[in-house]
Symmetry: C2
Subunit: 229 residues, 2 copies
């Protein structure tokens, strides 16, 4: 019987590559998709399509917290816009940081993993793309792994752990890996803006464009013939 | 200006004592109450009353996860019943364990704490009452504190931490502390069964009774004149 894995799938590039990577490694993947009031909720339909294209199971969780605290969930706040790669890499925690998002997601993923008896939880976080998000850093993910080990039944039994295979990769390396795995890039969605087409100027669009440019690969999402279908 | 704290308030004895303790320490307390499909949802109205009696603010979060995996949330499963103190203390993780519950609650509490700029998150967990729940142990809570320190904005800035003031106390010590703080015991609710009166035979009722008995204090919840009003 194949080992089960819970994969956090946002609809973005990194989690799609992580999913295809986990499938190639032989895991029976259960995608966990979150609707948490994000302005770019178009990513949810992308996540669903990606899970389907990968032949993986999927589970949608709706979170309706009574507070916001982020420009990604509060339409009254401005998203960071038009920043350079250097500003994104070296700036303070941006307004698009969603407080404790990955801790909430990973907590719920731990619950799901216990329930289906999964061996691994996969998250596609990586340092270069973190935009200063503390909950995307390796030192955070290492500590969360200890939370699983100490605070869940399967973790205590040594049967569940967190893996983050992209953590040390650059965006261009992730694009290349995704291309080699046949990830349907045109199905992925990175833009924060909530518009019908990628805005090209939010942090997420800028980092994505850099990744494809440096990888020397065309971003099929931006190809009018294949995208947004 | 008083320092803000988020307090996890379940409606049970331990979190009520924790709340009154935090208020005595001078914190401006914001109670976080969860409706997560627990069969004993009567505890939610208890939590609301306790927060009100303490003069604290309150916030209710509804979690509707698409899986259960616990006899506390799945009415088709049997709760542990009629176990002795020894069986509760030394047995395996019981069916009433809700997978990763405290990790989910503490993740959401971290998000709330970031949003309201709180300095502390309080949880009333303690080892004796853990009934073998891994997410009530000190070693788990210590690691979760590191998650806050590494994975949240306020944590990285050294402005947010987790505190668990009851962790080393026995249930009888908690009852005595609560009595000294004026905790309205008759408003609290511990029973898992979901009935209108405490069943007296679930793990939670048994541990509560032991605590009051050893403290030599009457449990006002069981006094027909004051309880269940």
């Amino acid at each position: 019987m194949r080992r089960k894995a819970v994969v956090l799938v946002s609809g973005g590039l990194d989690s799609a590559v992580t999913l295809f990577w986990a499938i190639k490694k032989g895991f029976d993947c259960h995608c966990l998709i979150f609707h948490y009031g994000q302005r770019h909720d178009r990513e949810i339909s992308s996540a669903r399509r990606i899970a389907e294209a990968a032949g993986a199971k999927q589970e949608l969780v709706r979170l309706n917290l009574p507070w916001k605290g982020s420009s990604l969930t509060d339409m009254g706040m401005d998203l960071p816009n038009g920043r350079s790669i250097e500003e994104i890499a070296s700036g303070p925690v941006p307004s698009s940081y969603v407080p404790a998002r990955n801790t909430i997601f990973l907590g719920i993923a731990s619950s799901f993993a216990e329930t289906i008896a999964a061996d691994v939880i996969f998250i596609g976080a990586h340092s270069e793309d973190s935009s200063g998000y503390p909950d995307c850093r390796k030192e955070y993910l290492d500590v969360f792994n200890k939370v699983i080990k100490k605070g869940t039944k399967r973790g205590v039994e040594g049967k569940l752990r967190l893996q983050f295979p992209l953590i040390d990769k650059s965006k261009s390396e992730i694009v290349k890996l995704g291309a080699s795995l046949g990830v349907p890039f045109h199905m992925t969605w990175s833009c924060y803006s909530g518009l019908e087409r990628p805005c090209g100027s939010c942090d997420s669009c800028i980092l994505r464009a850099k990744g494809f440019r440096e990888a020397g690969i065309e971003d099929s999402l931006l190809n009018r013939e294949t995208c947004l279908t």
